[in-house]
Amino acid sequence: MITLALPLFCLAQQNKITVRPPDAITVKRGATVTETLQVVVQPGFHVNSDKPKDEFIIPLKLTWTPGLLETKNIEFPKPEEVKVGTQSLLVFTGLFMVKTQFQAPANAPAGPATLIGKIHYQACSSDMCYRPSTIEVKLPVVIE
């Protein structure tokens, strides 16, 4: 068993992306604010874009815990097109930005809080793919 497991241990799942800790955002009750997340994909890997061409491909998804702020819109950058064999894929590599527009409810409680975001992604290199994974983002928020 160890013989089978050992070669694969070196490839144990690690996050293939990281998100730079976002600065705190300040928003007035009833107003909107845009936050830009900086996502970094490890060199040699790509993650599928939010709108892959193939129905079987797992898209990148960003979700924010509802309640504190209302998510009005999430904007992903234009993806790159790469070829894996004969398959053409729309992916993100390196550093890319994801913008989220939030609106603070008129009755939101004033003061500091933390908004939790989750990025669900599926990463590949040119010759292998990693199982889908989710990373958490903590966004400090001040509601005035």
Partner: protein
């Protein structure tokens, strides 16, 4: 004249040594029969709902491929495996695909239909994944001999088609293949 003979002897000896080294390098790739470990046993369900045990395939050379519908490099290998299934099936060879899709048959069945897979596909789970080292990276493929033992180091990621051909053919041409498929059953004991 003596020098010429000495030179010839040296040349022959050098060629022999070089040949030995080359063979040794090649043989490090394949696990010696006596050192092979049994492929971990599992029971999984195929697309028709049938329960399939890996041990059901004892006596055959098996290409055990862990894959997923969302895996691009896996998709490149699938046509090769379909070709192998067709080409080697009569010689006692089977491809077994184990899908690691979290969405289960909902994702896998349409893929099988769309790509017209001609070999058996099973639905994997976390238990099987743990048995085979976690399977974080796909494709991961094992070539299993007729005794149900892993004959080569696991292939993690896309490799050349020719490597698979070489490995599968080397196991199919193993003398024991004839014992399993052609000899009276009394000889099977000695084959193992």
């Amino acid at each position: 004249m003596a020098m010429k003979k000495l030179f010839c002897c040296f040349a022959v000896l050098s060629a022999f040594l070089l040949g030995s080294c080359a063979n040794q390098a090649k043989s490090t790739q394949v696990h010696a029969s006596s050192n092979r470990k049994p492929a971990p046993e599992f029971t999984l369900t195929d697309s028709s709902g049938a329960q399939v045990k890996l041990s059901d395939y004892k006596g055959k050379v098996v290409l055990l491929n862990f894959w997923a519908t969302w895996c691009g490099p896996c998709a490149l290998e699938i046509p090769w495996f379909m070709e192998f299934e067709q080409q080697y099936k009569s010689k006692g060879f089977e491809v077994l695909g184990v899908s690691m899709d979290d969405d289960g048959w909902k994702a896998v069945k349409p893929y099988i239909a769309e790509h017209k897979l001609n070999y058996r596909v099973l639905l994997g789970n976390d238990s099987v994944s743990q048995l085979y080292g976690g399977l974080d990276a796909l494709p991961t493929t094992y070539i299993i001999d007729r005794d149900g033992k892993v004959a080569f180091p696991a292939h993690v990621g896309l490799i050349n088609k020719s490597e698979y051909v070489q490995e599968v053919e080397s196991l199919l041409s193993d003398k024991r293949a004839h014992d399993y498929f052609g000899a009276p059953s009394i000889l099977l004991g000695s084959a193992k």
